[in-house]
């Protein structure tokens, strides 16, 4: 079954249309990358799927069910998102514990203490981080917390918006390993936005190259590794990375 299906998706912010007629199908368990430069509309697609960019037309289906425009409590149990900026994605006045318990409280799930402990272990954070505030954590640790928060509701699909671009190389490696392990363990579907092609090569199965709000090319990662992309723009991107 498809985890995510986008049909003729147009997305606007106010009067400007930023995504034009995107069609995409991501099967369950796949890790799919959207690559492109800033302003290509790749993050906007993630926000629309998450329900944070409600001005769209076309169709978005999650696990076969069409989704509504706004934020939807049922969708939030299947789709969660990890944001780019580990400094901006955690509430500065809330402890890690309350950030992680919040999704459980919203959905009335019990056993919160145990679940928080379990998820911290999953993302490789020591229990002593549990009652710290975000400013007492490093960037990589914060990003682990953000991933943990996304996992609290045991979603099937994770939307990753440049999850490592704000991190140091060595920390990026840790987070990429973590994401890879989590996907294997929990059979997650990833839709990741990035501009970093080597990261795609490490973590993803397929990729779509985007430019000016349109998909230019969809390719297998094997093609990327061999430098076998068809469209001139994709090759340009590849050349800029490899240079």
């Amino acid at each position: 079954m498809s985890a995510l299906t986008l049909k003729n998706l147009d997305i606007s912010y106010g009067d400007t249309k930023v995504v034009h007629g995107v069609n995409l199908d991501v099967p369950e368990g796949e890790s799919f990358a959207l690559v492109g430069e800033s302003g290509s509309g790749k993050s906007t697609i993630l926000r629309a799927i998450a329900g944070l960019a409600p001005e769209w037309t076309g169709e978005i289906s999650v696990l076969g069910k069409p989704r509504t425009h706004g934020v939807d409590r049922n969708v939030s149990r299947t789709v969660q998102m990890v944001f780019q900026d580990p400094y901006g994605s955690l509430h500065p006045r809330k402890t890690i514990d309350s950030a992680l318990s919040e999704p459980l409280a919203i959905h009335g799930i019990g056993n919160r203490g145990e679940r928080v402990e379990a998820v911290l272990k999953q993302v490789g954070l020591d229990q002593r981080f549990r009652f710290r505030f975000p400013h007492q954590l490093s960037g990589g640790q914060r990003q682990r917390v953000a991933i943990a928060r996304a996992l609290m509701l045991e979603p099937k699909v994770l939307l990753l918006d440049e999850p490592t671009s704000a991190l140091d190389v060595s920390v990026q490696a840790e987070i990429l390993n973590l994401l890879k392990r989590l996907r294997r363990e929990q059979n997650l579907t990833f839709l990741m936005v990035t501009h970093n092609l080597p990261v795609v090569s490490f973590l993803c199965d397929r990729l779509a190259v985007m430019r000016h709000g349109k998909i230019v090319e969809i390719a297998d990662v094997a093609q990327l590794k061999q430098g076998d992309l068809k469209e001139p723009y994709s090759r340009e991107l590849l050349a800029a990375t490899a240079a």
């Binding site: 430069e37 060595s170 490696a173 080597p198 430098g227």
Partner: protein, 278 residues
Amino acid sequence: MSSPLLEVENLRVSFPTHSGRVEVVKGLSFTLGRERLGIVGESGSGKSMTGRSILKLIRKPGEVTADKLRFEGIDILDQNEKQMRAIRGARISMVMQDPKFSLNPVMTVGEQIAEALVTHQRLGRKEVQQRILDMLVAVRINDPERVAKLYPHEVSGGMGQRIMIAMMLIPEPELLIADEPTSALDVSVQAQVLDIIDDLVTRKGMGLILISHDLALVSRYCDRILVMNAGRVVEECAAGQLDKAQHPYTRGLLAAMPVIDETRDELPVLDRTQWAGT
């Protein structure tokens, strides 16, 4: 190589915290000729503080000490604020990370470049205008007359950064410090901007200090590389020799980067305990 442009010996930068002063740069030494030096390190390695201390931009309560910090024979630490202003911009320039925060939003591009020029030199109005247009052409802006009249919000990130470079290079400094000049830009624009810096620096025979977290990028644009970790230089090597790096930290950094034809199932991770506290 001719006499060194910049000599740094035992540079230390410290900040006070709850538990006493903490050094972020712990005894850094290097000399720079008219060459391109790369300083690489992760966040918190002290690389930016190094760049800032050369321009005496470390604010109180931060403290800079050094056995020697000389630029063309001038002792930087002895200069007062007024003397430093004559050096900053005119003789040593700095390009910062994000053009959005470095350009004044209520002045046109042309006015800002002009300001950078006339603060340090007395020139006729026509000559200023000509120098600005030449400079904009030098940073590969195709229609300089039009761009000079734009406001910063009307230009793209890549163009903004090229304008910054124009501003920094127009007084013809002898040393350019570029602190993560391209990390806010797209990959394809990054190369463009660095090519411009590279071209101008080599053509004018300036010194360049390129500060970045990106090993690959630094090795491409520099002659020599210093790898910093926790305030110290752990490795110094010629840019071409990076793959022969000795120190485990450098090797760890190189290995942690995914590559375009990635076959590893897991990326090697730095064992931080090995360096923490050293």
